[in-house]
Every structure is written in structure tokens, then in C-alpha cells.
Symmetry: C2
């Protein structure tokens, strides 16, 4: 057990616990997935689970219905649900409690599904290797400009619901350009959780970068 | 100036300032609009402004691009932007500052567009008469079940992007039933900010209830 400094601020406490989480994850590839409610985070993870099976563990932090965990575990992936108590973002302590409850043996990739929110989650390190922002076509193409704090920190951006291209107005080249202005090295994945398009490239990134 | 209690908690302070805002709004009809990023709050307000013109004032609290305010004011409605500094919800103090900056003479309806977020804003009284939740078809039909804290407090729910009915899976009868379980008196408006469908009924509600 690490020593706990007496006058630790909440931010220092989170940074310390995130560092502890990072050790516990033991070199596995860990992603902090952040997106609006309805952007399709759980549906993307369901598709991801179908390809990764037992190599995937999901820490579910979105305000959830009980049905959601089953969508992940039916493919042999592991899932643990965080009781957020209505919080607007996850913190490292919540993730530390989740790690206690999940068997990571055989797991290569861990995805933490954050609370559906583009503002609050972006400021909290959970012990992940990379943040992944999820947006979707019907939300509109100005999200990177409106929420720069998230998009400058996101190593990858998933643009979901590409099956709605041509039905809703969305300039994906603008989104890519705006993302690159905020993070020159960002990886952008165009996917449809509905049809499965683009999911293989995303899963390849999860496994190998 | 009201007396400020010395040992006021943040929650007490917000309640006191919300009560002060309510007085300053002087009997105008005031709505606190809460929805996810991309649910179409600003587009609905643009349609609303086209019908209400100078009778409408909008207090914009969403993390905004400068373009958004112009979409409101071109119809003669008034708009003032709140600098949220990246906050995840508005509080009554931010709204008090906005009221100082806006001329409410001739205004009948005030809509406060909250930060795009379904969690944090629902717990803060801004001095409104009613909270309005905005959801949209592509977000999925489980939002009332997932975010009961908002939907039990919302006097009205706008279901936006009805132009996508039949293109995305969405059971609107389920949504209405779930909303009514949380608030038996809720008013539900089915609109498309894109086509204008349903906007008249919504504006009628704003004006007369």
C-alpha cells in the first residue's frame, strides 16, 4: 500500500490513484472512452467484444441499464460495472474499486467506458494509456471545435454512425481537420456500430496501436 | 441586495441566487433547456426565435462557437452568452450575471440553454419556471431510463430529429411511456428542427403552457 500524504488535494489524490491503477493494469493496453450519451459507446464495445472475446475487459462507467453489461459478456469478454451514484465523470478511485472486482488474467485490452459527457471526464486521468473520444454523425460536425479540452487530449477519435452519411449533414473532412488542429497525431476511425463497418481497424488499433 | 448568510453552503447559495433570479425575471416564462451535445438545442432555439422574434431572449450556456448566438439574434430575439469556463452545468450565479447583460423589456419568454450534458445540469435551479429535456432519435430511446434524475424533473420533453424516424431505430411510444412513469404530467413534443415539424406546438407551450 502506498503512503497517503496528509494534505493531499483531490487532484493530487486522483493523480496518485491513477498511477496506482496504471501499475495494476500491468502493461495491458488501457483506453478511456469518452462520448456523449447516445454516441454509441456501448454498441461499439459490443462489436469490439465480438472480435476480441476473452482478450477484452470492459469497465462500464456510463449511467447504465442492467442490459448493457450482458451485451459485452455474451462474447466471452469480461465486464464490471461502476456504481457512479449519478456522478458526471469517473475518477481514478472508482476505477481502482472496479479493478478489484475483475479478473484480468488473459486480458490484453481494457476499455473504460466513461459517463456520457463531453466536458467533465476529459480532466481526469484514470490510469489509461490513451483517451478515445466518440462522436457520431447526427450530433453534428462541430464537436471538436466546441469541446477542445477533450479533443486535444484524445489519442483517437471514433466517428460513429457512418451509416447515416448522406442522410444527416456532416462534413467528416472538417471533423478530421479540426481534430488534427487540436492533436496532430490523432487517429480517426470512421465506424458504424450498426453495420460493423470500420470496426476491424478500430480493434486493430486497440490491440496494436 | 439581499443579505448573504455567513456560513452559506454552495447549495444554499445556489438556491438563494435562483430565488433572486426568479424575481428579476419578473413573471416572464423562463425555461431551463437540458440535452446532450448534438441533440439540437440551438437548432430548436433558432426555429423558436423565427416564430417569437423580439418576445424571446436566450441565455446561451452551452460551450459555444461564436456562430451560435447569431443564429438566434438574426430573428430579432435577444441572446447573451455565458462564459462557463468549461463548467459542466450552469449555476444560478452564472445566470444572474447574464441577466445583468440583457435587456428583458418586451421579452415574454426566456430560454436558458444549459451545457450539453444530461447529468450535472439537472440538479441546479437557475430560477426557471420549468426544466425542458431535449433528446433526439439517433441518441436511442433509453435516455429517460438511463437519466431519471433529469426526466423526473423535466416538465416538458422535446424529442427532436423526427425526420429520422424509420431510418434510426427509435420507439417513441416507449419514450413517452418512460417519461410519464417519471413524471405523470410531462408534456412531450415531437419536433424536427431540420424540417420545422412540431415547432409551432412547442412555441405555443413556451408562450402559454
Amino acid at each position: 500500500m502506498a503512503r497517503i500524504p496528509v494534505n493531499e488535494s483531490p487532484r493530487e489524490r486522483n493523480a496518485r490513484m491513477a498511477a496506482e491503477n496504471r501499475k495494476r493494469f500491468g502493461g495491458r493496453r488501457v483506453f478511456n472512452m469518452i462520448g456523449s450519451p447516445g454516441s454509441g459507446k456501448t454498441s461499439i464495445l459490443e462489436r469490439t467484444a465480438a472480435l476480441l472475446g476473452p482478450a477484452l475487459a470492459v469497465i462500464e462507467g456510463d449511467v447504465q441499464t442492467a442490459l448493457d453489461a450482458e451485451r459485452i459478456t455474451r462474447h466471452g469478454s469480461r465486464a464490471v460495472q461502476i456504481e457512479t451514484g449519478g456522478a458526471c465523470h469517473l475518477n481514478a478511485e472508482m476505477v481502482a474499486e472496479a479493478i478489484e472486482k475483475i479478473d484480468l488474467d488473459g486480458v490484453e485490452v481494457v476499455v473504460i467506458e466513461n459517463v456520457g459527457n463531453l466536458v467533465c471526464p476529459s480532466g481526469f486521468d484514470l490510469g489509461e494509456d490513451a483517451k478515445v473520444a466518440v462522436v457520431s454523425l447526427p450530433e453534428g460536425d462541430e464537436k471538436p471545435v466546441k469541446y477542445p479540452a477533450l479533443f486535444m487530449r484524445a489519442a483517437a477519435v471514433i466517428v460513429n454512425k457512418t451509416d447515416l452519411a448522406g442522410i444527416v449533414d456532416y462534413d467528416i473532412e472538417r471533423v478530421k481537420a479540426d481534430c488534427r488542429k487540436l492533436n496532430a497525431d490523432v487517429r480517426v476511425f470512421e465506424v458504424s456500430a450498426k453495420t460493423g463497418a470500420g470496426i476491424r481497424e478500430w480493434v486493430e488499433y486497440l490491440r496494436k496501436g
